[in-house]
Symmetry: C2
Subunit: 192 residues, 2 copies
């Protein structure tokens, strides 16, 4: 997605530890027009799947899910909540995620009320690095008996194992901006 | 807002401790069409203010800010992040909030990059109870020198002090659903 790559080149910031910060337009300050374009592109890529629900994860996935839902006929967006295992009650599906940027484990939780075997789920998130969040969301769908139709990520660092990991699990993966390298001088390279 | 009151009556759940759960349509599973109507209503109430930015707080404020932004000409949405004081860096505006539902203190943080004295800010959030989150967001705008044009809340429990607290600070407050009482049998009463 050219528009997105240009924006990442212009406003993305490379930090030590292989961190790409896009919080000026994606996950702290949000460019809602760009978000609409992101939603439209996910619709183009997944429209044949006919999902009944979008599943994402707080906080940065919410705007992505909302933008996509408007193109998919306003299907409900469920966002998983992050929390400690100690706070879990029995009405939740839960899976563990190791955060790439923070290096800590989270529990990812979805109320059992909002996923069922009748659901056909499109999973969307902002970043695909090691695939931890995506794998946790897939795991939650499997617990619920819901069918995962595919997984979409706004940005993927293609030199990290996440994309292959999710594809190896048998799921369709679509990525809007494929980062193949980031350099200390701030330069960001995309796959063609 | 009649549509919202009807939805709260139908799908809202009253829990011990004066908790109103609306997570089937507002803050876990999100009804994006209802969210659009909420955004439209905030536009009707605040359109004369001419904001340059919407400020809200993760996670449940994001969908509200995004829906409203589309009516305000796609102005940027900044969402404050919750975090420990220990994690704060010097590039943040921070204020303390005491969570009503969880009974713990959070730091509420916004990067200094995304609020400035040029900004005219509309603050939006899901619940107004004691006004802690709203007051923290106002405090952050004051630190940034940004002008707060008004505060909008989707739901307000009018028997709690938040609305008066924010109005007493000199700010316009608009609420879409005014809950005046909740009963043990699950009944929810609204102000006329």
């Amino acid at each position: 997605m050219k528009l997105l790559e240009e924006r990442i080149r212009k406003d993305g910031k490379v930090f030590p530890g292989d961190i790409l910060k896009v919080d000026s337009f994606l996950n702290h300050q949000v460019d809602i027009k760009l978000m609409d374009e992101i939603g439209k592109e996910f619709y183009r890529l997944f429209k044949d799947c006919d999902p009944t629900k979008i599943l994402t994860i707080e906080a940065s996935g919410i705007a992505i899910g909302q933008a996509a839902s408007r193109y998919f006929g306003f299907i409900p967006v469920v966002y998983a909540k992050k929390g400690d295992a100690a706070n879990l009650d029995s009405d939740l599906y839960s899976a563990k995620e190791r955060s790439y940027t923070r290096g800590v484990d989270y529990m990812v939780n979805v109320s059992k009320q909002y996923l069922s075997p009748e659901d056909r789920v499109l999973i969307l998130d902002d970043f695909l690095a090691n695939g931890e969040a995506m794998a946790a969301l897939i795991n939650i769908c499997e617990q619920a008996g819901a069918k995962v139709l595919g997984c979409g990520s706004v940005i993927c660092k293609t030199y990290q194992p996440g994309e292959k990991r999710i594809k190896d699990m048998g799921y369709k993966v679509e990525v809007l901006a494929r980062v193949k390298a980031m350099h200390d001088d701030g330069q960001i390279e995309f796959e063609d």
